[in-house]
């Protein structure tokens, strides 16, 4: 006799064991330590922290290990852990102007106060596989720099703001508590704060493609990378009992400020407008893409045409999250046989009606479809 398809608890438990075995691979090969992942795959760790919206390199490394290197799965693990954490309060806004920089470039000025600092980048490498790494070459240790970087590294957009050439972005009156996307549902029209939070958590690939689409003509924004900077920042929290702010830790961030031309409208003259991108860790591609999409989402507010996919708030913000998207796409693996059966029944009925002679009794047709 047929027994209904049973997943069975035992099958599930066995699949856990097989997964664990698959993740570990050949036991002859030494197991990866979290320190190795954290130190030697920092860009993967950065991405998991950024999209997982939790700054914790150790846990991000754990997530990557547990996810067997699947970045989106690791993001999901970190997010699910993040939900369980208590919220003690908000830190002071970070000032990226006070960053301890590793890298800082501007594509809009040849030189600028503080200078251009390439730092660690793949940009000028020739993408040839380095077989010396295969042979186990150790990286040389880095000699200490000759001179310390300038402590003042003004942001390029601040320099433009001095000349009133770029849209001012003042703190809203009363400095209200920011919208919190992880506690409140997104609603429309979405505030800029909500949009930026959404983009900061968004999938890098999605933002990359959306940003790219604006460059190819689906919502042209004529962007310039005014500045990209990557480095470390102290995070401060105001402690009520002490009456002053104390440093609670240090984070690495990557910031990108794009400027785009704006033709002006009835109210204001032509000026530059900003697109802003910020990620945890070192995430240049993501922060640049984010800045492009942020600017594209401003189009309607600036009275621009706003008819491209990247200008559509609902389209961008509802489809940017890879944990949501991955879950919903993959839910198609769940059984759907009830709905499929309902469709099958209808399809057979309609085909039978189509094939049956005109005017035949409906009851007869329904009988005819049964096998």
């Amino acid at each position: 006799m047929y027994v209904a398809v049973k997943g069975g608890e035992r099958a599930i438990l066995n699949s856990y064991r097989m997964l664990d075995d698959y993740r570990r691979g050949d036991r002859e090969v030494p197991e990866l330590s979290l320190a190795q992942i954290r130190e030697q795959m920092p860009l993967a760790v950065s991405r998991v922290m950024a999209e997982g919206s939790l700054y914790d390199p150790q846990l991000a490394a754990l997530a990557l290990k547990q996810a067997a290197g699947d970045v989106i799965e690791a993001v999901f693990l970190l997010r699910a852990y993040r939900t369980t954490l208590s919220r003690y309060g908000y830190t002071q806004p970070i000032d990226t102007g006070r960053m301890r920089l590793q890298r800082r470039i501007s594509s809009t000025f040849k030189d600028l106060p503080g200078g251009q600092i390439l730092g660690p980048t793949y940009d000028y490498t020739q993408r040839l596989l380095d077989f010396s790494l295969l042979a186990g070459r150790e990286a040389d240790s880095l000699p200490a720099g000759e001179a310390a970087l300038d402590s003042a590294m003004p942001r390029v957009t601040d320099l433009l703001a001095q000349d009133d050439l770029i849209d001012a972005e003042p703190v809203p009156p009363g400095d209200p508590e920011p919208f919190d996307l992880t506690r409140q549902p997104l609603d429309f029209p979405a505030s800029r704060a909500a949009r930026l939070q959404n983009l900061a958590r968004a999938d890098e690939g999605f933002l990359l493609s959306m940003g790219y689409s604006t460059q190819r003509g689906y919502g042209n924004t004529h962007p310039f990378a005014a500045e990209i900077r990557y480095g470390a920042l102290e995070v401060e929290m105001h402690i009520e009992e002490l009456g002053y702010a104390v440093t609670v830790g240090e984070i690495e961030v990557t910031e990108c400020q794009m400027v785009s031309q704006f033709a002006g409208n009835a109210e204001e003259g032509p000026k530059f407008t900003r697109g802003y991108g910020l990620t945890f860790g070192y995430g240049e591609r993501k922060s640049m893409s984010m800045a492009l999409v942020d600017r594209a989402l401003k189009a309607a507010e600036l009275g621009e045409l706003a008819d491209s996919p990247a200008n559509d708030h609902e389209f961008v913000l509802y489809h940017s999250d890879n944990v949501e998207a991955s879950g919903f796409v993959q839910h198609l693996k769940l059984p759907h046989y009830v709905d499929f059966q309902a469709n099958l029944e209808l399809l057979r009925r309609m085909r039978a009606e189509r094939d049956a002679p005109q005017g035949a009794d409906k009851q007869l047709m329904d009988e005819a479809v049964s096998p």
């Binding site: 047929y2 997943g7 069975g8 879950g327």
Partner: protein
């Protein structure tokens, strides 16, 4: 047959009862109270990231987590079956984070979390059905924008859906929607009943049980309170009708239940069995002592 069993997994004390923290549960309960007060209206809520993937029941799980108490008895079904992998996984999750008793028996359950079916066994007053909802918005395929659809609900502007159903009739001679069939709740809001087959729609109408719907990814909850009118959309000359089979269940002989089709071999030999496994097992058990030869042979 034991109607109740302790959870198959041990309660994990690292997590708060029901996994969510108490303030999140309170936020959810407030949203649910609003949903009950405005039947069929989609209430936005601050959906949390759950340790199960979006699209796999996170809305239903959050609703259940918000309402479940230590005395509750939980049943979880998927496609009408207690034994499908995701139903087992969700049942294990609640075992781990609540330690409540679970059951496969519909009458013994105080909360039934479901995906895609309503049990064949009629529900009673005091029971709560929790539906996992993928897309809560009935107008979504007519209008992709949430801003627009919320306005359409506010104005009860539902003509487009009638036009769509009419186009079905014009093209196919009948309404071609077979599941997630739109309903009007309490003569006001249009609602998606979640992807249950339209076969189950009549069970929503005037049910003595409370029906709660949770969409985690889309961050909405909605409800049908007990004894509320739920009308499936139709036309006077094309009244709403449910699926029927000329076959009967191969295992229990039922001619009233929703049947799943099983393909047995390469030649396309088919059998039909109840989608609701508990209903089917129960009928088989009752037939055993004095088996009716007609039904058994049927």
């Amino acid at each position: 047959m034991t109607t109740q069993q302790q959870a198959a997994v041990a309660r994990d004390d690292h997590y708060n009862f029901g996994y969510l923290d108490e303030s999140t549960k309170r936020m959810l309960r407030r949203a649910l109270l609003k949903a009950v007060a405005i039947p069929g209206y989609q209430v936005p809520f601050g959906s949390r990231e759950m340790p199960l993937p979006y699209g796999w029941g996170t809305g239903g799980i959050q609703v259940t987590a918000a309402i479940i108490g230590s005395g509750d008895v939980l049943k979880v079904i998927d496609q009408g079956s207690d034994d499908t992998t995701n139903a087992i996984n969700i049942r294990r999750f609640f075992g781990r984070v609540t330690g409540v008793a679970t059951t496969q028996s519909t009458p013994a359950a105080t909360i039934v979390q479901t995906r895609h079916r309503i049990p064949e066994t009629p529900l009673a007053a005091g029971q709560i059905m929790v539906f996992q909802v993928p897309i809560p918005e009935p107008l979504r395929w007519l209008e992709p924008s949430e801003t627009e659809t919320r306005t359409m609900h506010a104005l009860a502007e539902y003509g487009g859906m009638h036009v769509k159903l009419y186009e079905d009739i014009a093209q196919h001679g009948r309404i071609a929607t077979t599941y997630d069939y739109p309903v009007i709740v309490n003569d006001r809001y249009m609602m998606r009943p979640s992807p249950i087959p339209k076969f189950d729609n009549p069970k929503l109408d005037g049910s003595p049980a409370l029906m709660l719907f949770g969409a985690g990814r889309e961050k909405r909850v909605y409800a049908v309170p007990p004894y509320t009118r739920v009308k499936s959309l139709d036309f006077e000359d094309h009244p709403f009708e449910v699926q029927s089979w000329s076959e009967h269940c191969d295992l229990c002989g039922s001619r009233e239940s929703f049947l799943d089709e099983i393909i047995l071999d390469d030649a396309g030999t088919r059998r039909y069995v109840c989608s609701d496994t508990e209903y089917c097992n129960d009928r088989q058990a009752r037939q055993r002592p004095d088996a009716n030869p007609d039904e058994a042979a049927a």
